[in-house]
Every structure is written in structure tokens, then in C-alpha cells.
């Protein structure tokens, strides 16, 4: 067995005095498509921020690609779309092309420039999210859903081995959500990219994910999609702390 891509052991995290994560232990195996779900305020975004080291755990340890996070430095292997990426600086007059090329900045490295090859890569990544017609438009002039697709493209352009997506499809229309999941599926199957996806759209997710984790301060469920969908409503509402309906395609 190869090492898991992400390992979290005994993670606790509190904002000031408010405990948000308690004793989290879990692994994301290489090649998996992990769906992270849970109620609002359950701590999903916090967990993601710990993994991309925007936050530091109060205690416990995190390993990425088998290395302790403190020593880990190959950040360009990780693509990230944050939940807030649609609250970026709208006044910034960058074209879609420029924004997506920023996904390559760290990978190309200091003292080097964008080559023709990189430019083709950028265009390809823009094409993958179906935004090629807008490549030279200013990002501020696009709709929210279109912007979100550009940010997904920015995460894809560096050929990451691990993609972390925090509610990436909020504001994206049905056609493009479908397309996006197909893309994720393909990345996962054909290119062996490991995925960690936060979403409230459990219906679509259970069709694609290989593992599902349900988080509400602690991990309440960790298993296969089939097991998740076969949970009784009573069990589900226990995870969420209130009654829920399993969301199916209600678009």
C-alpha cells in the first residue's frame, strides 16, 4: 500500500475559545475521491484550511504525501479552490488568461518566465472549464459562476496530484456542474488525481465519490457512498444534529 496523501491524527482546533474540530483522525488514500460533507458550521472549511496550512492545529499532526506538514514544501502538487474565491478583488483588471496563469506561478518558480508551453497549458486549462471564449476578458466582467469556473481552471493548470475544492460549484449552473463532475471523475480515474471535495450537493456527490466523510465537529461517518446512501434518516439526522432529507437531483 502506498502512503496516504493526507493523514490527520488527533487534530483539535478552536477559534479563540470556540472548539470547532475535536479529535479528528482520518486519511485520504492515494487515488481516492473523497467527499467531505456536513452541516453549515460543521468545520469543513476549517479542516481544509488546516490542510493547506492557512491555519495551524492546536494539537495533533498532519502529514502530506507522507511528510510532516511543517517540513512539506512541494505546495505546487496541491491545487486549491477556496470557498471564498468569489470574494476576490473584483477591481483587479486581470484577464481570465492572466488569472489562470497565476496557478503556474509557484510551479514555474522564481526567476523564470511563462514560456509558449506554459501558455498552451493555460489555454488548455481554460478550455477544460469551457471558458475559452472568455480567455481575454477581464475577470471582473464575468458572472459569479463563470468566475468560479475560472478559479477551478486556475487550480487545474498546475497538474496537481491532489485537488482540494471547498464548495467549488456554488453559483455554477446545472449544465456546468454536471460537466464539472465529469471532469473531476476523469481527472480521478484517468490521471490518478486524488480529490478532496467539500459540498452540500450530496446527491451528485454520492454518484462520483469513492469515500464519504461527514463532519460535525467530530467525524460522524467515514465510509463508501453505498453505505452512506443506505443510512437511515434517523442516523443521518443524528450526524447533522437536525432532520435532513437526502438531497437528490432537485434541479
Amino acid at each position: 500500500m502506498s502512503k496516504p496523501i493526507i493523514t490527520m491524527s488527533n487534530i483539535n482546533y478552536a477559534y479563540d475559545n470556540k472548539k470547532v474540530l475535536k479529535d479528528i483522525n482520518f486519511e485520504v488514500p492515494r487515488g481516492s475521491f473523497m467527499g467531505l460533507i456536513g452541516p453549515n458550521g460543521g468545520g469543513k472549511t476549517t479542516l481544509i484550511k488546516l490542510i493547506v496550512r492557512l491555519l495551524k492545529p492546536d494539537n495533533g499532526s498532519i502529514q502530506l504525501f507522507g511528510e510532516a506538514i511543517e517540513k512539506y514544501h512541494k505546495w505546487n502538487k496541491i491545487g486549491f479552490v477556496s470557498q471564498k474565491s468569489n470574494s476576490f478583488n473584483k477591481g483587479f483588471p486581470a484577464t481570465v488568461f492572466e488569472v489562470v496563469s497565476m496557478g503556474l506561478t509557484a510551479k514555474i518558480g522564481y526567476f523564470k518566465f511563462l514560456t509558449k508551453k506554459h501558455k498552451n497549458k493555460v489555454l488548455h486549462a481554460i478550455d477544460q472549464v469551457g471558458m475559452l471564449d472568455y480567455a481575454y476578458q477581464n475577470i471582473g466582467n464575468l458572472s459569479g459562476g463563470q468566475q468560479q469556473r475560472v478559479f477551478i481552471s486556475r487550480a487545474l493548470v498546475s497538474d496537481p496530484e491532489l485537488l482540494i475544492l471547498d464548495e467549488p460549484t456554488v453559483g455554477v449552473d446545472y449544465e456546468n456542474v454536471k460537466r464539472f463532475y465529469e471532469l473531476l471523475h476523469e481527472l480521478n480515474e484517468k490521471r490518478d488525481i486524488t480529490l478532496l471535495l467539500v459540498t452540500h450537493d450530496t446527491g451528485t456527490m454520492t454518484e462520483h465519490a469513492t469515500d464519504i466523510v461527514c463532519l460535525n465537529q467530530t467525524l460522524h461517518f467515514h465510509g463508501k457512498p453505498e453505505e452512506y446512501t443506505s443510512l437511515s434518516e434517523a442516523e443521518l439526522s443524528r450526524f447533522y444534529g437536525h432532520p435532513v432529507n437526502v438531497i437528490t437531483h432537485d434541479h
Binding site: 493547506v52 496550512r53 492557512l54 514544501h73 512541494k74 505546495w75 505546487n76 496541491i78 486549491f80 477556496s82 471564498k84 474565491s85 476576490f88 478583488n89 477591481g91 483587479f92 483588471p93 486581470a94 484577464t95 488568461f97 492572466e98 488569472v99 496563469s101 497565476m102 496557478g103 503556474l104 506561478t105 509557484a106 510551479k107 514555474i108 522564481y110 526567476f111 518566465f113 511563462l114 481575454y136 476578458q137 477581464n138 486556475r154 498546475s158
Partner: protein, 282 residues
């Protein structure tokens, strides 16, 4: 008209210095504006003033002082910029707080040094509003060196600076050393301000960094295009401003800024015009 400028040595220095700051001020200004840090330029220019006042004080009171006001201004500006960066990390959630702290500190020190140097004189007036006849050969060479440093640094770190300016969180997560790039950026800003102050003056230096950018922002498609357009506007403002200032015997700071504002107004009306036409076509 330009002939005069090229004929006299001191004017030639002024003219070429003008060309250089017309290039580097909007270049850095582009990053300052998109990061909404326009006030940092003001804060730093006042710190530079404190340094200049300190240099004037030394010149007057300590015979044979080796540091001229230009160099003490430069030193203060760079130290001030590092200090701003420190304050920004201390007050993480109130980053703009660094600006009034540094700005008032700069003004406070300036007042003290000016009074120690026996109050206001024409020198200080020239530094506040700029002057067309003040560039010594030594200053001129220093400004050339500063410009080369700026162009090289921006060229080398263009993609990092742009990435960081657009989305700091994403830049950090993707592994860019945001802190170092920030520091580089703010020190470069300090250098540009120190270099520009002789001609445009303490009070108006931030205008030269931001007004051309404000004008081009409305017209450009993409960041690179915005930078190029800003530099064109900056140069136009400096050249017209310097020459008209010289013939009207006015401080060039004033004329340069007025020209910049005219360019800004023109860019707003051009945009309007295009917009209206676009609507008619529909």
C-alpha cells in the same frame, strides 16, 4: 521647447530624471492601486520628508555632513517601509492602521527636524512641491541606479507580484513566499518615492503613482495592458508637466499632477463615449 532642456546641464538631468520617474512611478503604482494601498505611498513620502528634513538639519548644523538630504530621505523611506511591513503583521486584521501610524510619525519627525534646522526655507518648499532645477549629477546617477533596480526586480518577480496582488490566500497556499515578496514590494515602493520626490515633491508623489493607473484602469484589458498604458500616461504627464512648469515658472509637481488629472478626465469621458456608442449599436 525641449531643446532648452537638452542644452543646459542641470535641465538635462531634470528631464531624464523625469523620464525615469515617469516610468517607475506608474509601474509600481499599478501594483499599489490594485492592492488598495494608495495611502502607503503617502505615508512613505512623509517619512521621506522626515529624512530630508534630517539631512537639511545635518547640512546646516553639522559642518561637512556626508549625507545629503536626498540620501537621508532615501534611508528614512526604506526604514519606514520595513516598519510598515512589520506593523501590518502585528495588526493583521487592521492592516490599514500601519498607514496613519507611519504617516503621523513622518510628519511629527519632519516638524521637529525642520524647526531644529531653523524653520522653513526655500529648500523645504522645493521638497514639498517639487522643483525642476534641483537634480545634481550625483542624485541623477543614484536615480538611474534605483530605476535599474526597480526594472530588474519587477521584471524578475512580475508573476509573483501579480499573483500575490490578485489573491494573497491563493498565492500563500500555492507556496509563494508572500512575506518576502511583500517586503521586496514595499522596499521598491520606498525607493521609487525617494527617487521621485525631487521633481514632484512630497505632497504629490503619490499622485504620480496612482493617477495614471486610475486613468488606464478604465481602459485596459488585463493587468499587463494596464501597466503599459499607465506608463504611457505617466510619461505624458511628466514631460508636459515639466516643460510647462519650466516656462510658467511653477513647481513641476503641480503641473505634472494637473496634467495627470486632465488625462484621467479624458479617460473617463472616452470610456463614456465608447459605452454610449456601444449601446446605440445594440
Amino acid at each position: 521647447m525641449i531643446a532648452d532642456f537638452l542644452e543646459f546641464d542641470f535641465l538635462r538631468h531634470t528631464f531624464f530624471t523625469g523620464l525615469l520617474i515617469g516610468l517607475i512611478a506608474p509601474l509600481l503604482g499599478a501594483f499599489i492601486v490594485v492592492r488598495r494601498l494608495s495611502l502607503i505611498a503617502d505615508a512613505l513620502s512623509h517619512v521621506t520628508l522626515a529624512g530630508i528634513a534630517f539631512g537639511l538639519f545635518l547640512e546646516k548644523k553639522v559642518l561637512g555632513a556626508i549625507i545629503t538630504p536626498f540620501y537621508s530621505g532615501l534611508t528614512f523611506s526604506v526604514i519606514g517601509s520595513i516598519f510598515i511591513e512589520k506593523l501590518r503583521t502585528v495588526y493583521k486584521d487592521y492592516q490599514e492602521l500601519a498607514i496613519p501610524i507611519i504617516l503621523s510619525g513622518g510628519v511629527g519627525l519632519s516638524v521637529i527636524f525642520i524647526s531644529l534646522a531653523n524653520g522653513f526655507n526655500t529648500d523645504i518648499f522645493n521638497y514639498l512641491f517639487g522643483s525642476a532645477s534641483a537634480i545634481s549629477q550625483k542624485d541623477f546617477f543614484t536615480i538611474i541606479v534605483i530605476s535599474i533596480i526597480i526594472l530588474f526586480s519587477i521584471g524578475l518577480f512580475y508573476k509573483e507580484l501579480m499573483t500575490l496582488s490578485f489573491d494573497e490566500e491563493h498565492a500563500t497556499v500555492s507556496g509563494i513566499h508572500s512575506k518576502r515578496i511583500h517586503l521586496l514590494f514595499i522596499v521598491l515602493t520606498a525607493l521609487v518615492i525617494a527617487a521621485s520626490i525631487r521633481i514632484v515633491g512630497v505632497l504629490l508623489v503619490s499622485a504620480l503613482m496612482t493617477l495614471p493607473v486610475a486613468a488606464s484602469m478604465r481602459l485596459a484589458r488585463g493587468f499587463k495592458q494596464m501597466i503599459i498604458l499607465s506608463i504611457i500616461f505617466g510619461e505624458a504627464a511628466v514631460i508636459t508637466g515639466l516643460i510647462s512648469g519650466y516656462y510658467l515658472s511653477m513647481p513641476p509637481g503641480g503641473t505634472i499632477v494637473v496634467v495627470s488629472i486632465i488625462i484621467l478626465l479624458l479617460s473617463i469621458s472616452v470610456k463614456r463615449f465608447n459605452f454610449k456608442r456601444g449601446e446605440l449599436e445594440k
